[in-house]
């Protein structure tokens, strides 16, 4: 190998190491940790309900992946499931965050691999998410651990950490949409519309019992409709998978992903896939905190309300609040120093808060297209 090639390879490796080790905010993963606890409880609910009726997986057909995989005595297995539920609650509250998250991950993963009959895509995705949360220091914010530390007068722990868990989860998130879209793209029956059309026809009885009018049912069970609709569905999944990676398309991809998940939830039984899919989207926020400033006039009641909104809903800690002189308008200073005020500032603010982003993003995109915002 020539010296130039060696240097190029070393440069590539060094760049890769820098990318993985770059300190970034763990705030998005902390928020995800909070959101995932209730999702774990939803996931565990059927298993826990069975235990309350005296049943566990081995009372009906099950199929271990490997003969060597350890199976626990009934009482210990049941105890573990309930321990996972307790750990999930502790994980969300941030009590012994790391221990709680690792415990939740370990038990949910153990349970998934007990039998091929336990496997579902949404559960696999949950295991991946829990695995990343277990290795990331995501309990230093939005946690009772952090609150107790403050109460004791101890300095807060560093809220940044090497970026690799975040990049890994972003890869997995994109892989879920990419793999799903690609499998449909490569299947002529799917891409040509046969599969979704037949599924709609198979569900015609349910559709007729639902709120859709007759003309809409005629359309969604029409073969020709799926010649185009199938391609639209496949390209939507692939757009989400690719669009999340670039800043220019990320907001649109997140917006489309939310619509995609809500549509799936309304039309199919997918267990926790929709809520998990939407929750994980928070990881696509730029991993830095308090790098935007919101200036408010504390004498103005309307601006005080905006301050209250930010205090309550800025879960990703994107804004720093500063007081402006009396009589000033609401101002937002963006990362690049751009200052905007009034209604555009309000729209931009709402587009950066997790709970309101989906509703505010279309307005923001429209404004940008009309040249209303630099």
């Amino acid at each position: 190998m020539s010296a130039t090639a060696i240097r190029a390879r070393e440069g590539l490796v060094a760049g890769f190491d820098e990318l993985l080790g770059r300190p970034v905010s763990m705030r998005a993963l902390a928020l995800l940790r909070v959101l995932v606890g209730p999702i774990v409880l939803l996931h565990l609910r059927p298993f826990l309900a069975d235990t309350l009726h005296g049943r566990i997986y081995s009372d009906a057909f099950y199929e271990p992946y490997a003969v060597w995989y350890p199976e626990l005595p009934r009482a210990i297995y049941v105890g573990l499931l309930w321990l996972a539920a307790v750990a999930a609650v502790a994980m969300t509250l941030g009590v012994l965050s790391r221990v709680a998250t690792v415990t939740t991950f370990a038990i949910v993963t153990y349970n998934l691999f007990l039998s091929t009959t336990h496997f579902h895509n949404n559960r696999a995705y949950l295991v991946i998410v829990l695995g990343v949360l277990a290795v990331a220091p995501c309990g230093r914010e939005l946690s009772l651990d952090a609150w107790i530390r403050r109460r004791r007068g101890l300095p807060p722990l560093e809220s940044t950490a090497p970026a690799w868990p975040l990049w890994l989860l972003r890869f997995e998130c994109a892989a879920v949409y990419g793999a799903s879209g690609m499998s449909k793209l490569l299947d002529p029956d799917w891409f040509g519309g046969t599969v979704p059309w037949q599924r709609a026809v198979q569900a015609r009885g349910d559709l007729e019992g639902g709120p859709l009018p007759g003309w809409a049912i005629s359309i969604v069970t029409n073969r020709d409709f799926y010649t185009g609709a199938a391609k639209f569905i496949v390209l939507t999944e692939l757009f989400i998978a690719v669009g999340l990676w670039w800043r220019g398309t990320r907001y649109a991809a997140v917006w489309v992903a939310v619509v995609f998940h809500v549509s799936i939830q309304a039309t199919a039984a997918v267990e926790i896939f929709s809520v998990l899919g939407i929750a994980v989207l928070v990881i696509w926020a730029v991993p830095s905190t308090r790098d935007r400033v919101l200036r408010i006039d504390p004498t103005d009641a309307r601006q005080r309300r905006w301050r209250a909104v930010v205090r309550r809903l800025d879960w990703l800690a994107r804004f720093r609040l500063e007081e402006a002189a009396p009589g000033s308008r609401l101002e937002l200073v963006d990362r690049d120093g751009t200052v905007i005020g009034g209604t555009p500032a309000s729209a931009r603010l709402l587009s950066r808060l997790p709970l309101t982003a989906w509703f505010a993003l279309p307005a923001l995109i429209l404004r940008r297209e009309r040249g209303g915002e630099s």
């Binding site: 057909f61 793999a179 046969t194 198979q202």
Partner: protein, 139 residues
């Protein structure tokens, strides 16, 4: 630390890609994220074949056992009714084959059944129907 980090990340990425590729050939497709893959349907006549040659449908409870209670929640209840194969036909047939063996092995009060047999009619998407016969091992 750098090397460990590099190894972990590359291993996870490689494993994920391998699972995605493997999903195109495996029955259960773990971590392949192939969602809503088929519109395929299936229906099966599942019988117990007894030592004296009788073929008794499993819809009839036997020795205190009920087929629907034995097979759990993997889409195998009421097999004589036409069902959608939720995660694809290969996945559903793999479950059915394994379930026949599991039921044969886990019904100790049953002293008359030699084996279970399923005559399956399946429709892969819009393809013509295909008939297959699966048998459990002999008890």
């Amino acid at each position: 630390v750098r090397v460990a980090r590099r190894v972990v990340v590359l291993a996870v990425v490689a494993a994920q890609l391998a699972f995605v590729v493997r999903g195109y050939s495996s029955d259960h497709k773990p971590f392949a994220f192939q969602m809503f893959p088929e519109s395929s349907m299936w229906q099966a006549d599942v019988v117990r074949v007894t030592a004296d040659g009788r073929r008794v449908p499993v819809e009839t409870p036997w020795a205190g056992y009920h087929w629907n209670a034995l097979v759990g929640n993997v889409g195998l209840k009421y097999p004589s009714v036409r069902h959608h194969a939720d995660a694809g036909l290969d996945n559903q047939m793999a479950f059915l084959r394994s379930a026949l063996d599991w039921v044969a092995d886990n019904t100790p009060r049953d002293h008359e059944t030699r084996y279970l047999e399923a005559t399956v009619t399946s429709w892969h998407n819009a393809d013509p129907p295909r008939v297959q016969v699966f048998r459990s091992h002999v008890r």
